[in-house]
């Protein structure tokens, strides 16, 4: 599913969408440990994380990550967003926390299997 569509479906806003928003997302990885994010990242993976720092964008850049989903209305510094856009990473901001965001994403990518509880 395209990043654009995902953002629309889960009610997240896309900052600086650009070309990356057209990339097909095949899997999602959520986590707050830099090492895990790095080793799970790929050019079709959407990363979901509470982290908002330079290093997060650095690993997105070196692993060709198409999109990062930030949580709880996090507001990254504009220069970070620009830097990400320059390297082809779209930033998505979800209004809710990791648990709920992941629930929405799961439904979005794998259909009915997501749980209500």
């Amino acid at each position: 599913m395209k990043l654009n569509d995902i953002a629309g479906k889960i009610g997240a806003s896309l900052l600086q969408p650009g070309k990356a928003a057209e990339v097909e997302i095949k899997r999602v990885f959520a986590g707050d440990k830099m090492s895990d994010l790095l080793s799970e990242a790929s050019d079709t993976t959407l990363l979901v994380t509470n982290l908002v720092n330079t290093q997060l964008f650095r690993i997105a850049q070196i692993m060709d990550v198409p999109g990062i989903c930030l949580l709880n209305n996090a507001a990254p510094k504009p220069e970070l967003v620009n830097q990400a856009a320059k390297h082809g990473t779209a930033i998505m901001v979800s209004t809710v926390g990791m648990f709920e965001t992941c629930g929405h994403l799961y439904q979005c990518l794998y259909g009915k299997a997501g749980s209500e509880s």
Partner: protein
């Protein structure tokens, strides 16, 4: 060789990662494949962050050799007091500032190690730490899930237990009415297929005839050409293949010959080790890696002939005839050199082609079999055959599982060092003995040697870049003390089991059953002998 160096400043989290991203840009320009890039970047970034988090300053040296990338990261920092501890997943000494940013999960070094093919770490307390990592770019022989190519069809199994006894590494159990392969022990020889009466065991490879396109290359084993009896000579078979649409047919033995020659040169010029073992038969190499690890240094560093052929036709449509499981596995993506399996390489089982050739030759049955005319029609030169031995007395060729094991044992004991080169094949008469080929191996080889077809000298052997690796094989337990307990359990069981090796329990020998029981893979009640299960416990 290309060398790059980068400086890393400790404590600077804004700049951190810049060395890795410059390296990435550089490697991208050099055309490093994405999956290799991933591994290199994980190693580089984690190592760089370790310097930023823990040290005052450091540097990263990256060298790009043919087929591998070496990354060396050196720092001036506190050093690591206990390296074993530092390598443990979840152990970290990162300060709070780093943890806030998401670092310090204790995963860095384990991830570096996991993504390296070779990894070394040295550290001196209060001086600094040095990490060396090597990533092989061209995936060759990665130990992966497709380590063997045996196909088991449980439905067909008639429980004759022949495969149990035939397997040279005791890798088969027949349980629940079907053979189970213990993959860590299987060496991809075809011994079990050869004795399987029901057809439950075969090579994992489609039977369907693959329609060639205009420029498809077909690579057939020589043994295939001599399967059609007296009336249909290899020349006729080649012609039939041409008529089936394979305009470009090559013979696998060309590459076997190239490897043969290359190994002799290697033995003469490059090594003092004796005897040099030829990597001609994948099953023999697997056996050495599993059972004779001390002979690994005797293996000549060349790709298997089938891989050399694949390498030559990289990027072209090529169809290989899988004449044994070993060759099939050697063609799998994890085993291949230079960019892996190009999607246009296909593998077909011999039986698919047999039928097509038989049909055609039957239709053309009345044609005379003048070799010269056939040679003209197929574009094959009519020449003398046979391998040129420079020093025939110092090369020994041997085949058959029993003899191979014997000779390897002798080589291991150092009593074969009058020989320069040892060429071993698991099947009788080498690849002519493949159980997928119906003709008797001796007859097949004789017919081939007298066919008058000669090796194409253009075929080239290819050096292997990835070292041979000892295989772990069977282990009772990763934990030493538990392994010792299991060992005494095996001893105890061995005293009670009948020692007849009847295999009716589904394990090939009483010894294997005892092992299976000790590790929980079988129950004592599996043994069919009466009285075994009660008696001796009380007696003790």
């Amino acid at each position: 060789m290309i060398t790059e160096s980068y400086r890393i400043t400790g404590g600077n989290f804004e700049q951190a990662g810049s060395a890795s991203s410059s390296l990435k840009e550089r490697l991208k320009k050099l055309g490093v494949e994405p999956q290799d890039m991933r591994r290199v970047m994980i190693v580089a970034y984690e190592a760089e962050m370790n310097v930023v988090i823990h040290a005052r300053k450091g540097s990263m040296w990256v060298t790009l050799n043919d087929g591998q990338i070496n990354i060396e990261v050196k720092d001036e920092g506190p050093g690591i007091i206990d390296i074993d501890k530092a390598m443990t997943v979840g152990y970290s000494t990162a300060p709070a500032a780093a943890r806030e940013l998401g670092f310090g999960a204790g995963m860095g070094l384990p991830y570096i190690k996991r993504n390296s093919d070779l990894f070394k770490i040295e550290s001196t307390v209060r001086r600094g730490t040095r990490i060396k990592s090597t990533v092989y770019l061209k995936l060759q022989d990665l130990p992966g899930p497709a380590r063997n190519s045996l196909h088991v069809d449980g439905e067909l199994c008639c429980e004759c237990l022949h495969c149990l006894r035939a397997c040279p590494t005791k890798a088969i159990r027949v349980r629940e009415g079907k053979p189970q392969i213990l993959e860590h022990l299987c060496i991809d020889c075809a011994a079990c297929i050869a004795v399987c009466e029901s057809g439950a065991l075969s090579v994992e490879c489609p039977d369907d005839f693959i329609r060639p396109s205009e420029d498809t290359v077909l690579i057939v084993p020589a043994s295939f050409l001599v399967q059609f009896g007296v009336g249909i000579s290899p020349g006729r078979v080649l012609k039939a293949l041409n008529e089936l649409g394979f305009k470009n047919v090559r013979i696998m033995e060309d590459w076997a010959n190239a490897v043969h020659e290359a190994v002799i040169r290697f033995a003469e010029e490059e090594t003092k080790v004796k005897p040099v073992l030829s990597p001609l038969c994948p099953a023999v190499v697997n056996l050495i890696e599993l059972r004779f690890p001390s002979l690994i240094e005797n293996l000549a560093p060349f790709l298997f002939p089938v891989q050399a052929a694949q390498n030559e036709f990289k990027g072209q449509d090529a169809v290989f005839i899988a004449s044994c499981p070993g060759r099939h596995t050697a063609l799998m993506p994890h085993a291949l050199p230079a960019g892996g399996l190009s999607s246009n390489v296909k593998v077909m089982s011999p039986s698919g082609l047999f039928k097509a050739v038989l049909k055609l030759t039957a239709a053309n049955g009345d044609q005379s079999d003048d070799p010269d005319r056939l040679a003209r029609q197929t574009g094959w030169k009519h020449r003398q055959t046979g391998w040129k031995h420079r020093n025939p007395e110092t090369i020994l060729q041997a085949s058959g599982a029993v003899h191979v094991a014997n000779l390897l044992e002798k080589a291991e004991n150092g009593i074969l060092d009058d020989l320069h080169v040892l060429e071993l094949f698991m099947c009788a008469q080498g690849c002519f003995g493949s159980p997928l080929m119906p003709e008797d191996p001796f007859v097949a080889r004789h017919r081939w040697l007298n066919s008058g077809l000669k090796h194409n000298e253009c075929a080239k052997a290819v050096r292997r870049k990835r070292p041979y690796q000892a295989r772990e094989g069977f282990r009772l337990d990763a934990d030493m003390s538990r392994a010792i307990m299991k060992l005494s359990r095996i001893d105890e069981l061995m005293r009670r089991l009948p020692g007849k090796d009847c295999a009716l329990c589904g394990a090939p020998t009483c010894g294997s059953l005892a092992e299976d029981i000790a590790i929980g893979r079988a129950k004592e009640t599996a043994c069919v002998y009466p009285g075994i299960n009660e008696d001796k416990d009380k007696g003790k």
